[in-house]
């Protein structure tokens, strides 16, 4: 244990067990953090493509994804800047549904998620399958705002939130891992909040 900081007691004595180490409860706020200007994307011009190591590269329009079986996430989200937000509710479609249609090849091991802005983030395929990742367009029953990644963002809530790429436009399945945007800029490749995988080397 590190030496205590002189005079620091910390506020939160009853720590919520839902908080990963080093995180705090942001309450009703939802801070906006992006590295690039917020794009204005209309649902009519948005689409999602699944390509790379798949049998059937596929593109879905806004209307197409709304015809897929709906799926919802209820739970917590965790940002590497140390805020966590409890009891969120997002709705959209499970990434499993898209992958079932595109059919990853046996070689597919990783995914690169790409946004309309050129933002990218890399994930092990295992982190976006098995009911652990979504494409979402509603937050708490309302359309996702552009600042929060609307019309559609990726949601991978068991990892730090930079993995949940805003303005998602493409999921590319890969044989080998490649670093995405923040991963090239000093952040961890996996980003598990329970292991505090914040920066490269954690």
């Amino acid at each position: 244990m590190p030496t205590p900081t002189r005079g620091f007691l910390g506020r939160r004595r009853d720590r919520d067990p839902r908080l990963p180490p080093g995180q705090y409860d942001v309450g009703a706020d939802w801070p906006v953090l992006t590295a690039e200007p917020t794009p204005r994307i209309t649902p009519e011009t948005w689409s999602i493509t699944v390509d790379g190591q798949v049998e059937q590269p596929t593109t879905w329009s806004w209307d197409d994804v709304h015809r897929l079986p709906p799926s919802e996430y209820r739970g917590d989200i965790h940002c590497v800047t140390t805020w966590s937000k409890f009891d969120t509710r997002f709705s959209g479609v499970s990434v499993d549904t898209l992958l079932d249609a595109a059919r990853p090849t046996a070689e597919a091991q990783f995914v690169m998620a790409t946004s309309k802005t050129g933002y990218t983030t890399n994930l092990p395929l295992a982190d976006v399958t098995g009911g652990r990742a979504w494409l979402v367009w509603d937050f708490d029953g309302r359309p996702l705002t552009p600042e929060h990644g609307g019309p559609v963002r990726l949601l991978v809530p068991h990892l730090y939130f930079w993995k949940s790429a805003k303005w998602i436009s493409k999921l590319t399945l890969l044989r080998r891992d490649q670093p995405g945007f923040w991963e090239q800029n000093g952040y961890h490749d996996r980003g598990d909040p329970w292991r505090q995988q914040r920066y490269q080397g954690d």
């Binding site: 900081t5 910390g10 436009s169």
Partner: protein, 240 residues
Amino acid sequence: MTEPLGPGVADAPTGGWRTATVAGVRRPVARSVQLRLDVADRVAHLPGQHYVVRLTAPDGYTAQRSYSVASAPGDPLLELFVERLDDGEVSTHLADVVEPGDVLEVRGPIGGWFVWDTGSPALLVAGGSGVVPFVSMLRTARALGRTELLRTVVSVRTVDLLPYADELLAAGALVVTTREPRGIRPAGRLTAADLVPLWEPGQTVYVCGSASFAGAATRLLETLGIPAAGIRVEQFGPSG
């Protein structure tokens, strides 16, 4: 398809946890604190990078937050400028409790995106204490004799609330004030008329401030035809 966003600079320096001894504490503007830290085995940063400060309670509970660096890499001390947030767990400690001689755990430098490579032209657009990483860039440019590369504009409510005001004005920064007139400029938010004289082709634009400031400033830049690919944004919010 838009080009993928890559690293801001290649191979930005990264440092692990270090012990920092507080060498100086100043409160030049209200509700904030400037800390000068002597960091053991410090890894030299690039201007725009940040550090994490971690506080530990006697029972092992920790809280950590990120803060921009204000100092230039050649400064023997690391300077952080911290805005005090009333509900901030870390910023209130740094602003109210820390005194010279205290020991803090710090980690850095971190980040490769919101970083100036020290050789390219840049337009720096700050809201309030978002100016801190730009102070590091301006100090670095001065040390290198490359001040012509940087153009700076800062939006703040009133000049007395602006950290590093004298230094920024001496460096030629345009300071626009939203709650008081300044010269012949009436009080008001940043406008296209403020930005146009500062813009030159080839500049990378760095925007730093609150989420609302950053959103407004980037929309303004885009209405001027500045491509989104040339704009880098760093936002801070009530997270301190």
